[in-house]
């Protein structure tokens, strides 16, 4: 049995040429015997448990030591609360996912936002600020919503990447106006002083990506240039 396009001889019973994917029509042919079995190897991921234990203990010890020092010097928790919060946040972002064999970004990204919002809330309360609910909370909400949505779309929707990114950039640009609005009601700053620039820049990128998504040759040229 030969491939009509490539001219090479194929194994009996193969459904298509392995070189050019031209379908093979062979009414009498039995299914070809596979050269390799079906079992795929388990995807291996290095986990270094001793190192993780070491880093965890180091983090706990550093928090305990600096809080103790602060308590001894000032008799109360002052700056050490911020440092402890910072260390805990770093741990949640950088180390916590490494404990899992297959960390899921759609779970850890919202978790990181919650941890960061928690630290910011602590700073707000400690410094007597009244900006958390009116500024930081919406900011973290928008960031969490957008990044989680982007991750989920990229993970579960196989096609239309350019539309996803295009839409993301457009929304990101529009959200900067919201951020400025929250800044305005929290800190009484004038409206629309800076947000128009990112709106224009990110909007232009978003539109370009959407146009590239629609025009096939442009899309193919971009794919060839920027694939990874």
């Amino acid at each position: 049995m030969y491939c009509v396009k490539c001219g090479v001889r194929l194994q009996d019973g193969v459904p298509a040429c392995p070189l050019c994917a031209t379908p093979v029509w062979d009414p009498d042919g039995a299914a070809a015997e596979a050269n390799y079995p079906d079992n795929l190897p388990l995807r291996y991921q290095e986990t270094n448990l001793p190192a993780l234990f070491f880093v965890t203990i180091l983090c706990v010890l550093s928090i305990a030591v600096e809080m103790m020092i602060c308590k001894l010097v000032y008799g109360e928790v002052r700056w050490s609360g911020f440092v402890a919060g910072g260390v805990a946040l770093l741990y949640v972002i950088a180390v916590l996912p490494l404990w899992f064999r297959r960390p899921r970004a759609e779970i850890f990204v919202p978790l990181d936002h919650v941890a960061a919002a928690g630290l910011v809330l602590y700073i707000c309360l400690k410094t007597g600020g009244r900006w958390f609910l009116s500024f930081a909370f919406p900011l973290f909400g928008i960031s969490c919503l957008f990044s989680t949505a982007l991750i989920c779309l990229l993970k579960y929707v196989r096609r239309g990447r350019l539309f996803i990114f295009g839409g993301f950039f457009l929304l990101l640009g529009a959200s900067t106006m919201l951020v400025e609005f929250f800044q305005h009601i929290s800190f009484d700053t004038p409206m629309f002083r800076w947000s128009l620039f990112p709106v224009a820049g990110l909007g232009a990128i978003g539109l370009l990506l959407l146009v590239a998504g629609v025009i096939r040759p442009l899309r193919q040229a971009l794919e060839r240039r920027f694939f990874f």
């Binding site: 491939c3 490539c6 001219g7 090479v8 001889r9 194929l10 194994q11 193969v14 040429c17 392995p18 070189l19 050019c20 994917a21 596979a34 050269n35 390799y36 079995p37 079906d38 079992n39 795929l40 190897p41 995807r43 291996y44 991921q45 290095e46 060839r224 694939f227």
Partner: protein
């Protein structure tokens, strides 16, 4: 009892340094028998090879200054094959054993981490393993020789030596190579390796090569270069094109008469620069053949060996901790290692099995894994009256294979194609 350990040979030093979380440099040799493989007997045969091939049953360890190989206490367990050859060898696996013995239906395959040995050493190991398996299975008596080693003897020291150190010239050759054209494509997200095997009559292939007045390696390299040139021409205007070079490993045992079973090969980048004009297949074959003849001389190779041996002997570099060496070697590999060629064509040549084994062996294959940065590789082995050209790729597109094998058909060769389709 104290475990034996071995320094990595000069060529092997680079492989642990450049290994990544999803890529390790490995190759496979396999033998297809006439009957289905008995895993229990294969396990027994593999166990019996341990005293004769001590440098193969080792683990990769990290010292303070260098990586090294240490005798493995863990048994090499014979396992069923996977859906594709050369699945990733993780650090954890290499800390247990640096080779795998696999079976599928009638095929025995051995996969080696490249720090252990090269294609020649691997084929000796596989031939001896297969011979022992056949002895156990059918009661044959295979006479030892160049390919099948005597299991009753202990390994001579020259089999375990780092032959690079003995053959380095006083002056080192330069490493500078212009960057070659890089083949690209959409990588398989799960690391799947597509293998396409072209089976050609050895005599016909030899005649086709002789008609152009070149060797089989030069002929296949020329056809491959022609295919890559055509792909590049479709992609870029001439002034933006890059040299198209094929990386051809040279077995130094033939040049220096070494008997080592560890790495003793160096690579040459052979090809043309398309910016200066178009080349016909005849011209390509002639250019590559002349380059091969001019560069694969003992003197030139000694200079290239010296370029690899020199840094090892530099006191400052020797005193650097292993992670610094890994970093430096990774940089060197990135800038002057892989970038010089578009892909490898590794021709193991003709494997002449002992007469008594031939009725039991249907075919043999040699497969090298894709490189870190370029997605294709090609390996060639002749056994019996057939030559097996194995092309492996880590991307979805099969354009290069299509062009290469179709061109062989156009040149009058009958090519049978097999693949590990998904």
């Amino acid at each position: 009892m104290q475990k034996k350990w071995y320094r990595l040979d000069t060529a092997a030093l680079i492989f642990p340094a450049v290994a990544r979380r999803n890529w390790s440099n490995a190759f496979r040799v396999s033998a297809a028998l006439r009957d289905e493989v008995d895993p229990a007997l294969l396990q027994q045969a593999a166990d019996e090879l341990r005293p004769r091939f001590p440098s193969f049953f080792v683990t990769l360890r990290r010292g303070f200054f260098w990586h090294y190989l240490e005798e493995s206490r863990e048994r090499v367990t014979v396992r069923p094959d996977y859906a594709y050859p050369l699945t990733f060898m993780s650090r954890r696996e290499l800390r247990k054993n640096c080779l795998r013995v696999l079976y599928y239906k009638n095929r025995i395959a051995v996969e080696f981490f490249h720090s252990l040995t090269d294609g020649r050493g691997g084929s000796v190991f596989l031939a001896t393993l297969t011979a022992r398996y056949l002895e156990l299975r059918y009661g044959l008596s295979v006479p030892p020789g160049d390919l099948v080693r005597d299991l009753s003897q202990s390994p001579p020291p020259e089999e375990l030596e780092d032959s690079f150190l003995r053959h380095a010239a006083e002056s080192a050759a330069g490493r500078a190579e212009p960057r070659s054209y890089r083949l690209r494509g959409r990588r398989e997200p799960d690391g799947f390796r597509h293998l396409t095997t072209g089976v050609v009559e050895t005599d016909a292939l030899l005649s086709a090569a002789r008609s152009l007045g070149v060797s089989v390696t030069a002929f296949l390299s020329a056809v491959m270069a022609e295919s890559i040139l055509a792909m590049q021409a479709q992609e870029k205007p001439r002034r933006k094109q890059r040299p198209v070079k094929i990386t051809v490993p040279v077995d130094l045992r033939r040049l220096y008469g070494s008997r080592t079973l560890r790495n003793f090969a160096l690579v040459l980048n052979l090809g043309v620069d398309p910016r200066y004009g178009d080349y016909t297949l005849e011209e390509l074959a002639r250019v590559i053949c002349h380059q091969l003849c001019a560069l694969a001389t003992p003197q030139n190779m000694a200079g290239m060996i010296a370029a690899n041996v020199r840094p090892q002997q530099n006191t400052l570099l020797r005193l650097a901790p292993v992670f610094v060496k890994d970093f430096v070697m990774d940089l060197v590999y990135r800038h002057s290692g892989e970038c010089g060629g578009c892909l490898n064509i590794s021709n193991l040549g003709v494997l002449v099995l002992p007469e008594v084994m031939r009725p039991y062996i249907a075919r043999m294959d040699f497969i090298i894994g894709p490189q870190r940065s370029y997605p294709h590789n090609c390996s060639v082995l002749s056994c019996g009256d057939k030559t097996y050209v194995n092309m492996i790729r880590s991307i979805r597109e099969s354009e290069l294979e299509r062009r290469f094998f179709s061109r062989l058909v156009e040149l009058g060769l009958a090519v049978d194609i097999e693949s590990n389709r998904r």
